[in-house]
Amino acid sequence: MAASENTATFRPRTLFEKIWDNHVVYDEPHRQTLLYIDLQLVHEVTSPQAFEQLRVEGHRVRRPELTVATPDHNVPTSDRSLPIADDIARMQVDTLRNNCREFGIRMYDLQDPEQGIVHIIGPELGLTQPGMTIVCGDSHTSTHGAFGALAFGIGTSEVQHVLATQTLRQFKPKTCEICVEGALPRGVSAKDLALYIIGQLTSAGGTGYILEFTGSAVRSLAMEQRMTVCNMAIEAGARGGLIAPDEITYEYLRAREFAPEDFDSAVDRWRQLPTDEGAVYDRVERYSAADIEPQVTWGTNPGQVLSVVDRVPDPNATEREDDRKAAAAAIEYMALKPGIPLTDIQIDRVFIGSCTNGRIEDLRAAAAVVSGYQVADRVGAMVVPGSGPVKRQAEQEGLDKIFRQSGFDWREPGCSMCLAMNPDKLEPGERCASTSNRNFEGRQGKGGRTHLVSPAMAAAAAIKGHFVDIRDWDYRDGVASVSPASTTDKI
């Protein structure tokens, strides 16, 4: 009897369920759950209307200390000592500054050495911690799930709701385990892993789910790479991605500015978070790391992706009419022809950066490729570090010199040409190898064509002027390729 009672009280739970349960303020019958939010990140684009509405409705910010802001989306990546030339962009950044001052919210402003893309600075500062709930008016908030935090993007009305109440009304999402076993082959990065999974799931396949990435291939990834994987969870339509915290997570966080003071006690708590043996996910997908090759998107959504050794697909070979139409429209927009090898695609521009691939490991991987080479004649290539600390670390390591000597532009931190809200953008018809997260029509500039790739693949494309299989790359200057499992220095 006693034994059966024990079994009845212990119900194995997933990582997601544990975080969810810990944050339930109120489960109103037949309504959404009121969920407590531990951290809200704010940037200039999706917040002004939230603050304005707070003023109109006479609400205060309930917990200003649980919100942190930085401008990143439309900041220039050129000389920071100059004012922002675009009047409307400048006004938006000024508005963020004024709102933060009025409501008592900490802001990492343009001149701040810690400024950067919101999803890069949260982890760098140690604000992002296992077991937390984290939101931001930005879909790539999923990045923070790499620490075992439940993190997802919200709209501006919800930004206001969190400011006013420090809670959100949520329907409980379903859970999907994405298990990848084995070692990623040489030359295959976390970005390739993410793109491969999105290709398998399709860009809507994760809708309604929180994805938990598990398996030996995921466990062996460094924090930077885990962030790349969770960052892209939204591109499969999922609300968020999760990776269970482990020693790699704790090592990354130890000694960061906002890490818990009693760090060892925190680690003891965090060790309780990983999914229990026997816990059940709503859905499970299994992949083998050995099957994954370097990836290149050919279409206008991230699910339209293939291995670099493949050819542009024939839409007529597609089964469903919807997909056929979408593929044909994408190929037309991208000005490609079915059947041509992806390695024959010539590019005009290269963008290395973004919340997906703007961290130090990404820059190291790209620098290793370009070292000793020159960017192809007609290619314009730029590197935009994800944050001030990433930029300084890269400069300490001499990566900026490698990039500059190879013919890359070395810029100030921000979102830059991932979404081209600032002056960094493609001209109509230009084709770009980009380490960012979205290849939507016009995403990097009206009429621009985007192919999503890993940092190493983007770097190699810059040198050759077309896509190449990074597994065949001849690394010069004795710089070895960065393997997925390499350890990282703290930045």
Binding site: V25, H30, G155, T165
Partner: protein, 206 residues
């Protein structure tokens, strides 16, 4: 929030899947700090030619669709960025109802914050609706939210599913923050249980 009870309107068909929020409202318009006036920029890059004149090829520019207020779409409408500017632009343009086989999560949620009703129907029903738009010029639909029904003048009468609480909020135009603040005590209790400092009289942190 504006309440939604019922709506009858002209249907515009957009036979495209995975329409992302970058298309619905391109980024160059996200620098504005207002939440109104985005309708002029809806689908901007598809809707207008380089010289700023309407693109005659774009479906919503068809003269017969002037005043359309129901948008019929394909799967995964609203994918991508979390920008609430997307529903703001659709609403400001005049859309009140969106109908499709699926919507992206964040976008779907954002619609309800703005009195915009996204209706999910199975793919076969969506196919039928596209066929009806092609068959009947000036095709209109009537949406009765209280009964979860859509009807047309040609015999169509379908029910749709919607979360009862979301429906309740739409029907009554309820404000989410006001609803949540009814539970301010529970929030305070939760914070206390977590060992967080209580809020001061003035409402700020101690």
């Amino acid at each position: 929030m504006r309440a939604f009870t019922q709506h009858t309107g002209l249907v515009a068909a957009m036979d495209r899947s995975n329409v992302d929020t970058d298309q619905i409202i391109p980024k160059q318009f996200l620098k504005r700090i207002e939440r109104t006036g985005f309708g002029a920029f809806l689908f901007f890059d598809w809707r207008f030619l380089e010289d700023g004149t309407p693109n005659p090829e774009f479906e919503l520019n068809h003269p017969d669709l002037e005043g359309a207020s129901i948008l019929l779409t394909r799967q995964n409408f609203g994918c991508g960025s979390s920008r609430e500017h997307a529903p703001w632009a659709l609403d400001d343009y005049g859309f009140r109802v969106l109908i499709g086989p699926s919507f992206a999560d964040i976008f779907y949620n954002n619609c309800f914050q703005n009195g915009l009703l996204p209706i999910v129907l199975e793919a076969a029903v969506i196919d039928d609706l596209f066929a009806r738009v092609n068959t009947y010029p000036g095709y209109t639909l009537s949406v009765q939210l209280a009964e979860n029904r859509i009807l047309d003048d040609h015999g169509l009468d379908r029910s749709f599913e919607i979360d009862p609480f979301r429906k309740h909020c739409l029907l009554n135009g309820l404000d989410n923050i006001a609803l949540t603040l009814e539970h301010a005590d529970r929030i305070a209790d939760y914070e206390a249980a977590r060992g967080m400092a209580a809020l001061s009289e003035s409402g700020g942190p101690n």
